[in-house]
Symmetry: C2
């Protein structure tokens, strides 16, 4: 295992210490329980947006804490869900009297722990809603997931909902927005190589020198298929068409109903893409992928979108939701409208995304 | 060779096409000869700042073209110098009547070609000065270099001189500033793994599973030594102390003397760091290094600087000057003063660095 680390068990703690030292004007770090939070928290009168999940996907989530994005992020150990006490304590630290939105990627541990944390926070008088991101078009049900996994759209939801919170959307309106982003976003990833979880010390999976995995999850969960290596254009086409031609996706998720004061089942439908749609195109590196390769993927994605009548109105390219040093990429398309474009363009100042200020 | 590419010979062309499609508001791309240039070029009355070098180090240099940084960047094939016609044609395209500064990393091919281009541009009536970056404290003379190699300080010089050009520093004053950045910056890198040049199809060098190379160049040029793997803290200490304890470095470089209208030898001395200095600390990923590991490096670097009496007043962390998918990192320290801090903080809007606007 070749890594720039000290003891495997100290990776997350030491990474958080590094982040705290590097970005003191943007974030602070609380230890035991661990969470990253806005240096200027709590922001009074603003809904606090909190996310979290296993470490190893940096800059997500800790790198997206700051003005215009998250109020706090709760990192678990590498590829391991954070615990309810992290989520609860971060909510108590950053809530500004207008409620808390927990933005949760659809992995069973994360979903369960954020639900427990929400119940605990409400018991302490904090309004909380939990919103799910489940945008991975690759597979239904997976190693750690019932339904679709939450991947690239999470980054976009954190940016867009963060901007809306900054503009003082109330909790209900922010939840509606988050749901809109989720149902309009779809992703699919692929890997050329595995990653190695520090505590495991060996690759998560074996992938022969001439093979790749299409539809892989961000923890190395199995995808749709293993194939012989193909060209960047062929790979881009496989990912993009799987997203663009994905039919309507119906499912039921659990959300908190503040009126009824109980968890209720909500039916969601992700509408398929259609010619004429405006989209944000997000080409993501898995952590070990050089920038030069992402640009080659973007080039082909642009051509495919054009051919399909999708107009790319905004984009994002780089390693934003990663799997340690995995080589590979993912593509996310998010259907945009005027509201989403305006929120995307709003200023943001976090360690991982920064513009407009 | 596992890469997200099509034909190896098309990598640079297709990457440039991707960049042009992704960032039309910031940059345009000219083909044959190839260069990336500011979408709003030429900016009248501003010195045009142009750099370039082999591809494979992205986002440097093409990703640093835009407001507040470079006016143009000339990419060669992977790890291969660009040609004088690229440098000449880009100068003709972007110069705004106040001259051109060619910012050149110290590799023999780059130095020679930028000198030829400067002579050709002057023959066409454009004022040009060539300034060298040779900041790599690892070794003197190297595979492609007489003297020290140009590495991480290049990124900082492009940002700082770009901001100064924006503030309408004239050519002579900008050259003085660039020289100041160069002599006050020092770097050193290391690799855990090799990279693979697409056209070569196999790793540039072999590095056993339990070894690393300290002082490596950004093209895989040999460093100071190969060692058994060490911890992140030990590696950081090796790099940081090599930089901080590097004695004064004297050498002679060739620069154009506009008064004499000839190339002259200029003596430069890099003063050593001393307790009380303010520094910018730049922790750079080599392309295949996860963000989580860079933060662990930063944590230790901060501790070492503190112990040595160096105050980190600004920082940069991420993959900015890379070697394809190489795993490893480099550290750059740049002695800062009020002028440099102000220029560092000035707005920048490029594909690879963006803030303040």
């Amino acid at each position: 295992m070749k890594k720039l680390i000290n003891k495997p068990e100290d990776v997350v703690k030491e990474e958080l210490e590094g982040v705290a030292l590097a970005y003191p004007s943007m974030v602070k770090v609380h230890f035991e329980p661990d969470f990253v939070y806005r240096a200027d928290a709590p922001v009074q009168g603003k809904v606090a947006l909190i996310s979290g999940g296993g470490s190893g996907h940096e800059p997500m989530h800790g790198g997206f804490v700051g003005m215009g994005m998250l109020d706090a992020a709760c990192p678990g150990q590498v590829f391991t869900s954070p615990t309810p006490d992290q989520m609860l304590e971060s909510a108590k630290m950053v809530h500004g009297g207008a409620g808390v939105l927990y933005l949760v990627k659809n992995y069973t541990g994360d979903v369960m722990n954020f639900e427990m944390a929400a119940d605990m926070a409400r018991a302490e008088g904090i309004d909380v809603l939990n919103l799910l991101i489940d945008d991975d078009a690759a597979v239904k049900d997976s190693l750690y997931t019932a339904g679709r996994r939450g991947v690239g759209t999470t980054v976009l939801a954190e940016k867009i909902c963060g901007a809306a919170a900054e503009k003082r959307y109330d909790l209900k309106k922010l939840a509606d927005l988050c749901r809109k982003v989720n149902i309009n976003g779809r992703s699919m990833g692929m890997a050329l190589t595995s990653c190695t979880v520090p505590m495991a010390g060996k690759p998560t999976f074996d992938l022969p020198e001439d093979e790749m995995e299409i539809g892989i999850g961000i923890h190395g969960e199995p995808g749709r298929k293993r194939l012989k290596l193909k060209t960047a254009d062929e790979i881009t086409e496989m990912l993009a068409l799987a997203i663009i031609e994905d039919p309507a996706y119906h499912r039921t998720v659990r959300e908190w109903d503040a009126g009824k004061a109980e968890w209720v089942d909500v039916d969601l439908v992700d509408p398929p893409f259609k010619a004429g749609d405006q989209v944000l195109a997000f080409v993501n590196g898995m952590g070990g992928t050089p920038a030069i390769e992402l640009a080659i993927i973007y080039r082909k994605l642009h051509e495919i979108c054009e051919k399909k009548g999708l107009k790319i109105v905004r984009n994002l390219m780089g390693p934003y939701i990663t799997s340690l040093e995995m080589q590979g990429c993912s593509i996310t398309l998010l259907k945009m409208d005027d509201e989403l474009i305006k929120l995307w363009d709003a200023p943001v100042k976090t360690p991982g995304l920064r513009w407009g200020i």
